[in-house]
């Protein structure tokens, strides 16, 4: 029987989070650099950061009870028959 701790699921999530952070920074920097350093630009950046923070917070809340390190059996592998 193969067992894995649920923390392995966080690896793709962390990779996605890295990509997300990169694009988020690129967006905010584009707005600031190319003429949106005004109320609308700041407001848009603020709303975007708040929205992203809310999504991450709700995700963290929904998986708060998970025991990340205890291995969980993936599936029972049948014993080879001879």
């Amino acid at each position: 029987m193969i067992s894995l701790p649920p923390i392995v699921l966080l690896i793709p999530y962390a990779l996605f989070a890295l990509g997300f952070t990169f694009f988020a920074f690129a967006n905010v920097i584009s707005l600031g650099k190319y003429g949106a350093r005004n109320t609308i630009g700041l407001m848009a950046s603020f709303v975007f950061i708040c929205g992203a923070a809310i999504i991450v917070f709700l995700t963290w809340q929904s998986v708060a009870a998970v025991d990340w390190f205890t291995p969980v059996p993936l599936a029972s592998v049948p014993a080879p028959s001879f």
């Binding site: 996605f16 003429g35 609308i40 992203a52 991450v56 995700t59 998970v66 969980v72």
Partner: protein, 204 residues
């Protein structure tokens, strides 16, 4: 940051007006975002009904929650990119030229400019029910055949914009003609300078 900081102004150049796409155009990305945001709720209702979202395997349970999080973060950044693209596209009309600044995706930006004296014709068009009601449409600035036309899409008051560009082009042509007319006054000085130069070289 003001519009003046988006480009280098020539001496005596004045920004007459700037154009962005009509705000109603952004309603499209908003609706797409709302539909995409509703999909997981719809799927949950169809698959699980009112029952709480509990899957038999803990891996599936956690994985699904993380997947939903990735999905929402993805559509959120897609929506924000749409806003950036919308907001950073701008057309600036000065008393000397027209600038078309276009954001192409997240990492591309193109700036084209056209001298008002090279404007041959300006065409404005409002097409459709909603554009007619909200008074927005396309303005196309036509130049010499070899050059690419300038097209301002989904801008407010396109007919008024066309009229104003034509007025500014006429004014710019007059100004340029006046400058050319003033040039012969300088010619005698230039001729005298040339004669002096020839004398200095022993040719005169």
């Amino acid at each position: 940051m003001s519009i003046k900081q988006l480009f280098t102004q020539n001496p005596g150049e004045k920004v007459e007006f700037s154009l962005r796409r009509h705000p109603i155009v952004f309603l499209g990305p908003i609706l797409v975002f709302l539909v995409l945001a509703a999909i997981p709720y719809g799927a949950k209702l169809i698959i699980f009904g009112d029952a709480p979202l509990v899957l038999s395997h803990p891996f599936l349970h956690i994985g699904l929650r993380l997947f939903v999080s990735i999905y929402y973060l993805s559509i959120w950044i897609f929506f924000f990119s749409q806003f950036t693209d919308y907001y950073l596209d701008i057309n600036i009309v000065t008393n000397d030229r027209i600038l078309d600044i276009e954001q192409k995706g997240l990492f591309g930006r193109s700036v084209s400019e056209l001298d008002l004296t090279r404007v041959q014709d300006v065409h404005s068009e409002i097409k459709g029910i909603i554009p007619t009601m909200l008074n927005y449409g396309t303005v196309e600035v036509q130049t010499a055949a070899s050059e690419e036309n300038f097209k301002f899409e989904q801008v407010s008051n396109p007919h008024r914009v066309r009229q104003r560009i034509l007025e500014l082009a006429a004014l710019d042509r007059k100004r340029e003609a006046r400058e050319i007319m003033d040039q012969p006054k300088k010619t005698p000085d230039a001729a005298a300078a040339g004669r002096n130069e020839m004398k200095n070289q022993g040719l005169g």
